[in-house]
Amino acid sequence: MSAPIRVEVDGLGKDFVGPDGRFTAVRDQTFAIDGGTRIGLIGESGSGKSTLARMIAGLATPTRGTVHVDGRDVHRLLATRAGRTEHWRAVQMVAQDTTSSFDPRRTLRDAVATPAVRLCGLTTVEANRRVDETLAFLSLPAALADRRPSDLSGGQRQRFALARALVVRPRLLVCDEVVSALDVSVQGTILNLLKNYSLEFGAAMLFVSHGLPATAFVSTSLMVMRAGAVVESGPVESVVTAPAHPYTRQLIAAYRGTPMAVAS
């Protein structure tokens, strides 16, 4: 198990300029993520969850504020090759889109092995061994790795996307709606895998979703987001059983009485 990560988000905000003028997607948020914690970021569509997650991962540039990983400014780190290697070895993100998440011209093994070679400095043989270990962890047959992405189902592709992120053993895994497009049985499998990874490797996780049951199952704490700001945060049980903010109450009430009972 590697050293636990420390992520500090300080006054992080993002504006987009569109045809209707300036739009604030994320309003200056400040919080921290520590190693081993699994934060569920929940909220309605357009609340700014994905933008916040992408800025933390280093895939979007903030308009205001900073993200520090282990005390180092992420967006400065990404300006150099050595910095990129260091950052992406620690932080990986998996997104919802499984159809275009792999280069159609390359095999899945190539896609999964490349980060292991480039970021962990492994030889091709070592990287292939690491790929096989990761695929075994995700219950994926190694033979599938030699296929092209179009040969696989959405669920299999999503697990390969997870494999590509987990192959470098990141200390923070950012998941953006990773199970939203999948059927319920596949969702369960992937949620268990994510939780197992965090427990086994002591990795922190930022799990972005608009579905409360899945988020509550995976996470140790919840952050509820609305209109670009976190309106409530705390351990899963306290947020679910005693929500303080009216929007959180509304969100939880929406699940009451449905077959999908809120998991604790």
């Binding site: 090759r81 990129r84 792999f102 011209r105 980060p115 970021l119």
Partner: protein
Amino acid sequence: MSVPTAVVVASPRPRRAIRSETTRWLLAVPAAVVVLVAIVGPALAPYDPTRVIGPPGREPFGRYALGTDSAGLDVLSRVLVATRTNLLIALAVVLAATLVGLVLGAAIGMNESRRGPLGTLARAVNRFVDLFTAVPAVIVGLVAVAFFGGTVTVLVVVIAVVLAPIQVRLVRTEVLRVRGEAYLEAARMAGFSELRLTVRHVLPNSWGAVSENMPVIFGMAVVLTAALGFIGVGLPRPTPEWGSMISLGASDAATGRWWAAAFPALALIVTVAAASALGTALRARRA
């Protein structure tokens, strides 16, 4: 009494996709034949294409297979040798225009939505490329040849400069499509720089459309080379070249001696049609 009438509206017949592998190969045959003529043609030429070998204006299908022109040069020998010249110029133009297209198109496509000086530069180059497509090719050719002389290199550079914006715009469009794909973010997270991921992922995934357009550029290059030759700013006479041969033979055609212009014109038409058929075959492969 009113008579019920029916209005018959002809619906456009949808173009059928070419699905048969055999059809695709057959479409490539004319291009293969033209290339073969360019390779072996000069060796098969019965006479020196630049020397007077007989009386002027001799009819075809006699002693001289395709007759002689008004200067007494053998038309068959000239058409065969010109095939190699015109094809080589067009091929060099296609390669140069595509290379420029890949470099500039990728640079514009990957940077035009950036903020800062790089984005501004990319947008400015894009506008310049758009502007350049409005400049008539023949005018550029006239000016360039007047300045630098009519050599193969000058012709290739001039025609490539005129046709490159088409490839630039096509590459840019493809890059804009590929740029939004999620696997590019995955490549960034594997530590690739923007340049490396452009070479590794963006260009290979843009290549299909660009390669399919190469026969179109080829056809245009053949026509432009001949057009410049026709107006007398191409290769110096008596170098065998279809455009200048058509130009020289056109005045004879008015007096009934049609062959000096007709055969190079036929070679030109067949070459352009063969390139077009090859383009169709390439597009059908991906459809």
